[in-house]
Assembly symmetry: C2
Amino acid sequence: MLIRKYRVAIVGATGLVGQEFIKVLEQRDFPVSSVHLFASERSVGKKLFINHREVELKELTPHSFDPVDIAFFSAGNEVSQHFAPVAVKRGTVVIDNSGAFAMHESVPLVVPEVNPEDLEHHRGLIANPNCSTIQMLVALHPLHKANPIKRIVVDTYQSVSGTGSAAVDELNTQTKLVLEGKSAVPHVYPHQIAFNLLPEIDVFLDDGYTREEWRMHEETRKILHDDNIAVSATCVRVPVVIGHSESIHVEFSEPMSPEKARMILGDSPGVKVLDDPAVNLYPYPWSVVGSDDVFVGRIRRDASHENGLVIWVVADNVRKGVALNAVQIAEHLISKGWI
Amino acid sequence: MLIRKYRVAIVGATGLVGQEFIKVLEQRDFPVSSVHLFASERSVGKKLFINHREVELKELTPHSFDPVDIAFFSAGNEVSQHFAPVAVKRGTVVIDNSGAFAMHESVPLVVPEVNPEDLEHHRGLIANPNCSTIQMLVALHPLHKANPIKRIVVDTYQSVSGTGSAAVDELNTQTKLVLEGKSAVPHVYPHQIAFNLLPEIDVFLDDGYTREEWRMHEETRKILHDDNIAVSATCVRVPVVIGHSESIHVEFSEPMSPEKARMILGDSPGVKVLDDPAVNLYPYPWSVVGSDDVFVGRIRRDASHENGLVIWVVADNVRKGVALNAVQIAEHLISKGWI
């Protein structure tokens, strides 16, 4: 049997996410015939290894996509807005992580464990949801199928890798300075992040929510195809390098026992339950780095709502939050022959 | 006019909280005639300065309280359970921070900005609420008076100083090790705390909540004298030295506009509103260290509930969370002649 192979591009190859894309493609043995890496001007000409072959970083041009079947975009809103439509027009399937197209009606927004069927009628452009939304819905969707969710209150504890490698450097540098008793000047974030935390992720909107918080609301409705679900989020940046955590208070249509939730989640794709308080077993960011799964613990009845359940969800935000989810989308397209 | 002065004891004087007690008593010019400092065996004989006078640390005995009018206890449950009743029997007024007596019916549990009147009929023993409860209620009580609260969903971001000085040392030591690429062995916490966070504060109870989370529920009802309020909390330890943060989603009896909430809170004792997203103005732990106030920001309508409001509350957990609150209790007793 002949396995078709694909010409793959990574746009934004030198960032944390770009590096993770290379790792995930290699580890999953993605059927690659050629790889094309694109980066910003200052990295052009450098070389990266993928599958033991050296690939030179190039600058994006309108012709970059002529030899590309699948392109993973992760270089920010502007690059996506400019080049994704160009690529699609030339026949490339674009899986975009920027958020620029997430809420466009004709663009599928997909978590493969949740709504893979939305990929069927794609028009070349597919949006990868926000990292906070992905891990929340991998954990909540199996419960939602059993007992429809009415409302979600979620507060996040998001690592600096979500911002990029400059933020990781800033956390490390500031931490060293503070330990030496020196003052730490912020560059990437508006205030110090070392030994501190900031309730601000992405820009503020008119209603007082940030765009990150608003995306958890809007994306949840779009992915679950349910505009009756209400989400209230507070998104907080914490001094952690990798791994986003979420405290989620869910209201279902009917009561949901922790035992039932544990049973459902124990059987769900992409979910791993780590929940035994007696031996201090619950997920935390340091323990999930490099894992594909979304980890769930602290499952308990919500003492303040008869149909409520409280859970604690942690995942590697660079991996399942971005790169792995996008590659899974591509894998699903291939397995269904939708590409 | 003759101002009466008091013989004051601090039980647990060498800890972070004990040190803060000394600072607060000095800074507020508390009417002290003599100070008696008690500590565990290994510190006995050492000396500390208070009001420029050297005071020797002593070991607790049943006779320790004979010359004491007011004793601040902050040496853990066991010490309080053993010695607080002894002190009260000898006529000392005990303000206890251990939590051992917080839910005893005959023991007032007081946040001076919220329920000072509960002090009137004290029987010598007064409980200081949990740090997380104190800052939440300083912020919520003024709103509750205007529009009764039905339900509170709160997730916390609690600093390691809440555990004590050994935890601060552990965070610093582990952080250095991780920065050097070495592994960090946990001692105080069950898992690494450097560049990590743990959804576990105090012991786990049968219903899956921790005692810290349960206290936020029970103490809120007792302090607000309202058993209809429901609280669902997730308490999380974060790698921050001082300053607890809380994301609070409140459901009122009727709608509450952010403007009205800002107006009410702007006029409330012990509260400072820091809320201007346009200039990245909101409270964060690094900015509140050493402050008396409870800081509130990110005030917005809850997109998921018609009577809902979301706020972000930060305070110095060692100061307002413990020492200051306890000293304010003593000051209120004095001003009312209830001691």
